[in-house]
């Protein structure tokens, strides 16, 4: 049935195209696509499949033999006695804590920032550019900069807090402060990015909706609640999705600011994966970890999608 239907549309489509203006031959679209598709197959699709293949092997980068082990690498991750399970789940815990602690701030604060920037005031373009500026810097710069600011003995933050009589806090080497630091630095770095996306969503909400609400006597808060928030639903789904994606990828902040510490509490899943694959050369296990982490992320994203998708009126 489905095949017949799609063949039918295909025929119809072809007929429509040939009757219209069509200044290109049958091969032309593929020639336009070819350079990109070549890269795409070689560096995206190929590696995605090959990575899964690797995860089914005892793939030691340095050894000539790479025996097939089936799903053993995955099973090991669920076997408390194996060498890989403990570091992996420690990493997952760090990534999980970071995600749970950072996503709410990265979703809510940028919305406030966007509402702020959506008002008309002199210098608006300038302030928009300033708030977005941290995002154009890389994590390496951000990491080194805040490693110094957050330093327990020499850091600006503790010196500033000292003015109020607050004694030294171990922002980079004491829990829960290490997580507070990582979340705060990430908010400082990426809030402007999410805000700009919200802002575009805000500007897409028709002004008539606000006018209608105002005629109905809605106050500012009611307008925000009943016009702004529903209007932002699709953009919010997008923001939560990319923020979750970025949190699962969390790496640089931990490497440069807390060095995974104190202990291994802030050593994220990606740090464990790269350590297993590149430092211990056990790439089979490392790719199995990657795929499991990606699977967890997919599950969380799908739940988020199901919860927030447009509800039928």
């Amino acid at each position: 049935m489905a095949v017949e239907a799609s063949a039918g549309t295909m025929r119809k489509r072809r007929a429509r195209v040939s009757s219209g203006v069509r200044g290109y031959g049958r091969a032309t679209p593929y020639l336009f696509l070819a350079p990109y598709l070549l890269l795409f197959l070689l560096f995206v699709i190929g590696p995605a499949i090959f990575g899964f293949w690797m995860s089914l092997h005892d793939w030691d980068f340095q050894l000539p033999g790479k025996p097939f082990v089936g799903l053993q690498n995955y099973k090991d991750l669920f076997d408390p006695l194996s060498a890989t399970a403990e570091p992996f789940w420690h990493g997952m815990r760090a990534t999980g804590i970071f995600t749970i602690a950072s996503v709410p701030f990265l979703v809510v604060l940028p919305l406030g920032l966007a509402v702020l920037l959506n008002r008309k005031f002199p210098g608006r373009t300038f302030f928009r550019a300033v708030y977005f500026a941290p995002f154009v810097l890389g994590v390496a710069v951000i990491g080194l900069m805040f490693r110094y600011i957050l330093d327990t003995s020499f850091g600006l933050l503790n010196a500033f807090l000292g003015l109020f009589g607050i004694s030294e806090i171990g922002w980079t080497n004491d829990q829960p402060w290490a997580f507070v630091s990582l979340v705060a630095v990430t908010v400082w770095w990426t809030a402007g990015f999410n805000a700009i996306i919200y802002l575009a969503g805000l500007q897409d909400i028709p002004a008539e909706q606000y006018e209608a609400a105002e005629l109905d006597g809605a106050n500012t808060w009611q307008q925000f609640r009943n016009v702004t928030l529903p209007g932002l639903r699709p953009v919010s789904v997008f923001i939560i999705t990319i923020t979750l994606l970025a949190s699962a990828n969390m790496f640089g902040q931990s490497v440069l600011i807390t060095q995974g510490g104190p202990g291994d509490t802030t050593a994220t899943a990606l740090m464990v994966i790269t350590d297993t694959g590149f430092s211990q050369f056990r790439m089979g296990q490392a790719t199995a970890m990657s795929y499991l982490l990606a699977l967890c992320l997919a599950v969380v994203s799908i739940i988020n999608f199901a919860l927030l998708r447009e509800r039928k009126p």
Binding site: T28, F50, F132, G138, A140, I196, I197
Partner: protein, 275 residues
């Protein structure tokens, strides 16, 4: 309609601005301090004995930490990468926006789907691929694989969908072939989008951290982000030197940003709406 911004509004706006600027300013200020002063308690807001020692240290310690070389590597990689992205993404984006062919929707769906696959999935297999291609520790590893990312294609397709069709139809009736239409009519009308994609690709590549950290080894081949990690390891608490390195990595992009902020911000905004 709406009330004028209140005093509280302005205080908030200014406070947020200070919050953004202070860390950056502190980085630059510290880079001109002596080690002793960078560890002073309480910290000095203005360097009491301003010194260029930190910059002398990172710009001249022959071979150990060739920061200028890293900057050059970063610049070359980001430039070539951005050019490659713009060429392949605009061609593919045009085909997907304007042409009819078999499997078009399937191809586009697969490309779009990979936007939501986390990058670490590709890390090990692409590393082995680099090894097999002999690209480890070379510029090619920084320039080429990243250009397979889906964002550019998606971005250009959205832009081309918005260009009026009449433009090309007139040319096609005149007998121009697809390539002529693309290069003579479409691209000149897409300058803003091409500029935006160039800038975004350049910034992404310049700032990339994980990939260069693992595919580059030789000190003289590193990019700035990978090199800064080395600097942090070598100078641990010599913060003026570390801040000088961070400043060298930050200032070029901040200067670029001052000139192209409109493109960057509009590019990011547009990617969100259509997402």
């Amino acid at each position: 309609m709406r009330r004028r911004p209140s005093a509280a509004f302005w205080i908030l706006v200014i406070l947020l601005t200070v919050l953004v600027i202070v860390p950056l300013l502190w980085m630059v200020i510290t880079s001109f301090k002596t080690i002793g002063e960078s560890q002073a308690d309480p910290p000095t807001l203005v360097p009491q004995e301003p010194t260029g020692r930190a910059y002398g240290e990172i710009l001249t310690t022959g071979g150990q930490n060739p920061v200028l070389r890293w900057a050059l590597n970063s610049f070359a990689a980001a430039t070539f990468h951005a050019l490659l992205v713009v060429v392949v993404a605009s061609m593919a984006g045009y085909a997907l926006a304007r042409m009819e062919f078999r499997f078009k929707n399937a191809i586009f769906s697969v490309i779009l789907l990979t936007l939501f696959v986390p990058g670490f999935v590709f890390l090990m297999p692409n590393y082995l691929l680099m090894d097999n291609l002999g690209w480890l520790d070379t510029l090619l590893a920084l320039v080429v694989p990243g250009a397979a990312g889906a964002f550019g294609v998606f971005f250009m397709r959205q832009f081309f969908l918005a260009i009026p069709k009449e433009l090309e139809e007139v040319a096609m009736i005149d007998g121009a072939n697809a390539w002529t239409v693309f290069t003579r009519i479409i691209l000149p009308n897409a300058k803003a989008a091409l500029a935006t994609l160039t800038v975004l690709s350049f910034l992404t590549n310049w700032n990339d951290f994980i990939w260069p950290l693992f595919v580059l080894f030789s000190p003289e081949r590193l990019t700035l982000p990978a090199g800064l990690t080395l600097l942090q390891g070598a100078y641990t608490t010599d913060y003026p030197v570390i801040m000088a390195g961070a400043t060298v990595a930050a200032v070029p992009v901040l200067i670029l940003y001052v000139f192209v902020q409109r493109y960057v911000i509009e590019g990011v905004a547009r990617s969100g709406i259509k997402g």
